[in-house]
Symmetry: C2
């Protein structure tokens, strides 16, 4: 998983300038999904859905630093129960439910507690890649394995992540990557010591010692901001490779109020300036090119060791990046460039031969990944817990029955200044997106009209039809879908469908519960027998 | 809490024959709620909502023996954190999430584990009152404190609950209360040894030793079936006191398919026979009369000890009992007699003087009880966890702002033979009721039309308008309510509104996360400072 990697910033997804031969190499031997959606266009909530197989509305960790409730069942729980290890190498952006753990008496240094604190993973290495210190302290107060590595490699100071890996040089001063005007500078670090190669080394370390079936979540922070990359990647691309922003003046004329408020954010204002796009996007592309090269190292290692023959490769991201499209920066809303993710799966088994190098346009969601892994590990997807569906049929060229008709993604902005601007309550600061192949619909709580895009007539999503009476029918149908989805049976996680089937067939009578029986003759003798006896005497 | 006590089978709620002077005594000094709804018309799910303050759709324990997921936050968690004990005396119908506890390594014999296993209560005594043994074993395999008591009192045999407390005599044979034809017989037990007096004794034992602020859930199994009661209660009422069944031939003509399927259940068929009603209802009334007498003992004890002056009394039930109304037996569906509950609250504090002896017709729900108790314990209701609202304003004669416009109740029949009859999937075997003061609306998943009753024109709920095009507007409005309710923010339990407010106001910049900053001059110096320094040297 790459963080903030736009689906269309890969060669195989059609970027006209950016070369990603290694992503393309996996696509050539696997299936490339063209309609894959993140469950939330922001790291934390998107990932908690990927790790649990459940919608954000189900697990409740609705944005970054909303802790994942203790006891929420994860990919790691499912896979370990099937005899498959489940390891973390890199970032999760998971916040521990410390209050919940204390309430249940779970010690963070116990095996169970540690897994709870790491959303179900066993930790090979965890590094969320945001080692920044502000005026009021550090964003992430854990130990940083990456900073430890840099120090061991001789980089000086307390925070070489900030001063070298994510900064260039300006005279003898740190030119921080946090200031985007520095994006075009080379990061002041050797390529092999920068984050992506470092984590790739850790992944190879892991694979070299791994035995038994395993699932490894190799989770890169890049191409996420700070947007800065060491030589030679920093000037591989230039302003001439920056695609024109996908935006129109009409978008700013009568925007939906929620969209309008997001457009006012600093990052949106910044990326609306050509100078910013021309400085930042080449660095973003350089980070992807570097990631591609490191993917090449992994693929080579797999081929050299023969492990390519029994290793499934899944390439994806947690959300995209607006990069100035639609007058927006960052992610947060639901235009394709933000909410869609690349998804490429290579399954080496012969059953998947028929689909190699093909694309699949089914509506797939990030929550389908744990379901897929459970099937790969030989299990049956517990549908009362995991809301995603296995993608295995698509890898085998089969068309699953009753596949979903809409993909759903959510966004909670209750902790952001946008809520204050809009004056909505914490519980109303929520957005729901529903997309089918033709339409994309967004409902905003708090009394706003919906947004609607015609993906066929307007693939660039420039015209919001949400206020257009001519589309009332489509909107009503989408509200119908949303209502059915919202009513879904998402919390019955302690009773499986199979258990319910068994109970349905047996009833309570075998256990002695006789409901509505007036007379013994109404029921079979076997059920009467326990009650037919003399008064006991003592 | 009384189990299966119909709201209208109390004197103060208008029963013309049944005398309940002690319930009426509490009503005379408290507030009687006339529109109180169970969150589910069946024990387990109703109670799990009462104990958590959360809708069934939120906690997922959707019927009897659907375990309450480990870690679900309960009344006990909230109250103990406020320095108030929270004790169980009687029944919960809670099923432990043993798999979840094992997954988290919680030992049932640890303090935390035991509370998890008892939905947050500390157990003074637990007895669910269903000590039955069928052809394939016992319904409840725990130890039975009540059976132990009976044995100690000299009742012989393995299961005096079944053979004496819940059975009459037929010659020298046990005449089991499970067979309703025996309901008119006196139970073969001394009154003072039967379940209601026994549990009342336990409550007095508890109060005699209790110190510090406490909440005690005194939870009687009766008047729940088996319908049988010892002398003198067994013949206090006779067929002449049985009200005519509230039902019409029209109800059986074109019933809603789900209603039709429930009408076919044995218990519905039984209670549709006058002979059954005339035998069972007097026993049911006798059980209530006995409960009333025992309530009198408790009230007397409180008055004699002066504890009436600092003890709040809340009388309610978990759901009602059809008793043949609407051609139904038991509960399960949403006619008033099944889904409404009595609710009487006596608050001895002077602030409540203004409302003594009054009624309140606000739409209140069982989930409001824990919210009320939290406020009584001096806390603030954590609205990101507890979905109910405190009833304190009603006790003080205040009208809370923005009180709910609809009450919601749910029913899951996935484990019942009704599902097989209807041919719906486990996840579609779910019903949602919405009631306001005028309408009662029921949505059934699985492609059925809704049900609708006009409570004003048809207070007996005999005419289902759910298929009537003339009511399409009301139905659409109810679907709108249901959709909004279903989308509610119910799982964001790890982030309070206050935490979100704080984050909204501070942003991430103080912690060093600078998003969208192109140039240092765009932000205050304090946020730039951490990045303005020379390259470290080592």
């Amino acid at each position: 998983m790459y963080d903030q990697l736009r689906f269309d910033y890969l060669g195989c997804y059609g970027h006209p300038h950016l070369k990603t031969p290694n992503f393309d190499r996996v696509a050539a031997k696997g299936v490339r999904f063209t309609e894959a959606y993140a469950q939330s266009p922001v790291c934390g909530s998107s990932r908690m859905s990927t790790y649990t197989g459940r919608y954000v509305h189900s697990h409740g960790a609705a944005n970054n630093n909303y802790p994942l409730r203790v006891g929420e069942i994860t990919m790691g729980d499912h896979l370990r129960a099937l005899g498959m290890g489940c390891w973390l190498i890199g970032k999760t952006h998971m916040t521990v439910d410390a209050e919940g753990m204390a309430r249940l008496g779970l010690a963070p240094d116990s095996v169970i507690g540690a897994r709870q604190a790491e959303c179900g993973f066993d930790v090979w290495i965890r590094d969320d890649g945001l080692w920044t210190n502000g005026a009021e302290g550090a964003y992430d107060t854990r130990r940083s394995p990456y900073n430890e590595y840099l120090k061991a490699r001789g980089y000086p100071g307390e925070n070489p992540w900030a001063d070298f890996a994510n900064a260039g040089l300006e005279g003898n001063q740190v030119a921080s990557g946090w200031f985007m005007r520095n994006a075009a500078k080379p990061a002041n670090i050797r390529d092999e010591d920068s984050e992506t190669p470092w984590l790739t080394d850790r992944a190879i370390d892991f694979m070299e010692q791994a035995s038994g079936p395993w699932c490894a979540h190799l989770s890169y922070i890049k191409p996420h901001w700070p947007y800065i990359v060491p030589a030679p990647w920093h000037d591989l691309y230039g302003p001439e490779h920056v695609l024109p922003a996908v935006r129109s003046e009409a978008e700013r004329e009568h925007p939906h109020p929620v969209y309008a408020a997001f457009m006012e954010n600093r990052v949106a204002q910044s990326f609306s300036r050509d100078e910013v796009r021309e400085t930042v996007i080449p660095a973003y592309m350089g980070l992807i090119a570097q990631a591609d090269a490191q993917l090449g190292r992994l693929l080579d290692w797999l081929e050299e060791t023969g492990r390519d023959r029994d290793t499934v490769i899944v390439l994806t991201s947690d959300h995209g990046d607006y990069l100035g499209d639609h007058w927006m920066g960052e992610k947060d809303l639901f235009h394709d460039c933000s909410v869609k993710v690349p998804l490429i799966i290579h399954d080496p088994s012969p059953e998947a031969d028929a689909t190699r190098g093909t694309t699949c346009d089914a509506l797939v969601e990030a929550i389908d990944l744990p379901a897929t892994f459970i099937e790969m590990a030989g299990g049956e997807v517990p549908r009362h817990i995991v809301e995603g569906r296995s993608l295995m049929p698509f890898l085998r060229g089969e068309a699953p029955e009753d596949w979903r008709e809409v993909a759903v993604s959510e966004y909670n902005y209750a902790h952001t200044p946008v809520r204050e601007k809009l004056g909505v309550s914490a519980r109303d600061a929520r957005l729901f997106m529903l997309a089918d192949h033709r339409w994309k619909f967004v409902h905003a709580e708090g009394g706003f009209r919906p947004m609607l895009f015609d993906r066929a007539a307007d693939p660039q999503e420039l015209t919001d039809l949400g206020g257009d009476p001519a589309h009332a029918g489509v909107i009503a149908r989408m509200y119908e879908h949303l209502a059915r989805w919202a009513r879904r049976d998402s919390q019955r996680i302690t009773q499986s469908d199979a258990q319910l089937d068994r109970r349905m067939r047996s009833g309570a009578m075998p256990k002695g519960i006789l409901i509505g029986v007036y007379d013994e003759r109404e029921i079979p003798d076997a059920f009467v027998a326990p009650y037919r006896h003399d008064i006991p005497t003592g």
